[in-house]
Amino acid sequence: MNVLELKKTANEIRKGIIEAVHSAKSGHPGGSLSAADIFTYLYFEEMNIDPSKPDDPDRDRFVLSKGHVTPGYYSTLAHRGYFPVEDLKTFRHVGSYLQGHPDRKHIPGVDMSSGSLGQGISAAVGMALSAKMSGRSYRTYTLLGDGEIQEGQVWEASMFAGHRKLDNLVVIVDNNGLQIDGNIAEVCSPYPIDKKFEAFNFHVIHTDAHDFEQIAAAFAEARQTKGMPTAIIAKSVKGKGVSFMENQASWHGSAPNDEQYAIAMEDLRKVGEALCQK
């Protein structure tokens, strides 16, 4: 996909995010929107995956360690063809397979159940380790929140990944700067994030999480990196793409009402329209 196509796809994924949380009257739009471009690049460009073969042993793996941003994850999987986009409207409803947090038992394309912060990265490390042990060439990606890295288990996993030189592992930190209780730097600062991962023997790359050219360059650099895992610190805007949600911690875990839903969809419609004229 070229950059324009990626942007159009990301915009459709953002619409799916709003549809899902509005329908559920709950969910996490802020961090879903901040990660939407990363999701898009991973599933439409970077990863070696085939929605018709979700269990292929040689497929690339993805673990959503910041498991609460299922609206972004599910919308991406749906648009990629793992399940009908229409099903996003069942998100968080009783009886739906689209659980509040990822459930690998029931959702096509979900490689690992997650949601309790700090745990997904360990599973991703296990997947990457398994590839090394079995001589398989698949790569493993995991997306973490910048608040999530306050969890100690993240650093247990990072120590292990660095020690084992897992160069088939890419850790992406969605650095939107906000967590439930406010600015991450004020709640309990995880900064400097880059120096921490470097200290755990990672190759560290900075990128703008909403610039596809930079994102592409970051993942290409990760692929070239040998002998150590890569951490991509993706500077993002929480709520990106929806005017009233941008940079507001309050949109971490709340859903728009009907009026807000209409404004959000109008914002995204306009973005889509502008992209079509390019």
Binding site: V63, R104, Q119, S122, A123, G126, M127, A128, A131
Partner: protein, 315 residues
């Protein structure tokens, strides 16, 4: 009387892993800097490339095992019961059991028989924690024969299994050549009509001693070894209650949430009967030689005998 062979079930665990290593190529073993104590070092010696030392980071170890399991490996994670069921409880619940991954938790140094290390390392709550998790199989073998059979059964079983092993050498009691291990199937070791003693782990051999002492008093005690606490062999438990009326449970675990509670849960629903729970009475352990602690906390044959006799006589 000939000397009874004694071996710690942690030793059996390490031996069984090494025995199964060649047969099961996907078997991998993870440890958290305790390979010499959990005895996974025996496996490491035979299969160094399939032994993963995660360092002192149990929560991450469980998560790595979960990731390995998604790719078809059969991981055994090993550490002390305290740090598996205790420290990594939530990882076992959310990263292993909820996704129903094929991870086996080989927890050693369970109960007060840890001995000198004392209360911080004596986990008397692991059965309670593990049996509360949906879909978790909980196995507590009584001796070497059973521990090795349990490891093999856990490998053959698809899904999460918690295996409880001890530090202290215990007598081999399952020396019957017809011995068979089946997950969820209890074993009647001794018939009796007056009382049933249901036991697990190292308390099984002590319960057999108690049954001998009871016999000298004219009390015939049935002794049942429940190696699988979940799923519990409810049929066997209910049949025993119907036959002998009263039931005694004996375990090296808190009386809250362990074998005794599992038995009571089953009987409450299916055949209410008086139950005496012998175990750790809602207290922490302490330092000391294991054998002395077992006596102090009333889990030796003599103590069990005295409590059962009083219970039978209605005191």
């Amino acid at each position: 009387m000939s000397e009874v062979k004694k071996i710690a079930t942690r030793e059996s665990y390490g031996n069984a892993l090494a025995e199964c290593g060649a047969e099961y190529e996907n078997l991998v073993v993870l440890d958290a800097d305790l390979a010499s104590a959990t005895k996974t070092g025996i496996f490491k010696k035979a299969f160094p490339d399939r032994h993963i030392d995660c360092g002192i980071a149990e929560c991450n170890m469980v998560g790595i095992a979960a990731g390995l399991a998604t790719t078809g490996k059969i991981p055994f994670v090993s550490t002390f019961a305290m740090f598996a069921a205790g420290r990594a409880f939530e990882q076992i619940r959310n990263s292993v059991a909820y996704p129903r991954l094929n991870v086996k938790i080989g927890a050693t140094h369970a109960g007060i028989s840890v001995g000198e290390d004392g209360a911080t390392h004596q986990c008397n709550e692991d059965i309670a924690l593990m049996r509360a998790i949906p879909g978790m199989v909980v196995i507590s073998p009584a001796d070497d024969v059973e521990a090795r059979a349990a490891v093999r059964a856990a490998i053959e079983y698809e899904g999460p299994v918690y295996l409880r092993f001890g530090r202290l050498a215990v007598p081999v009691i399952n020396d019957n050549p017809d011995y068979q291990f089946e997950i969820g199937r209890g074993i009647t070791l001794r018939e009796g009509q007056d009382i049933t003693i249901i036991s697990t782990g190292l308390c099984v051999s002590e319960s057999l001693k108690a049954a001998e002492l009871l016999e000298a008093d004219g009390i015939q005690a049935k002794v049942i070894n429940i190696h699988t606490i979940k799923p519990l062999d409810e049929e066997l438990v209910v049949a025993a209650a119907k036959e002998t009326g009263k039931i005694v449970t004996v375990e090296e675990h808190s009386v809250i949430g362990g074998l005794g509670s599992a038995v009571c849960d089953a009987l409450c629903a299916k055949y209410p009967a008086p139950v005496l729970k012998i175990g750790i009475n809602d207290v922490f352990g302490e330092s000391g030689p294991a054998a002395e602690l077992i006596k102090k906390y009333g889990l030796d044959g003599q103590s069990i005998y005295e409590k059962v006799r009083a219970f039978v006589k209605g005191k």
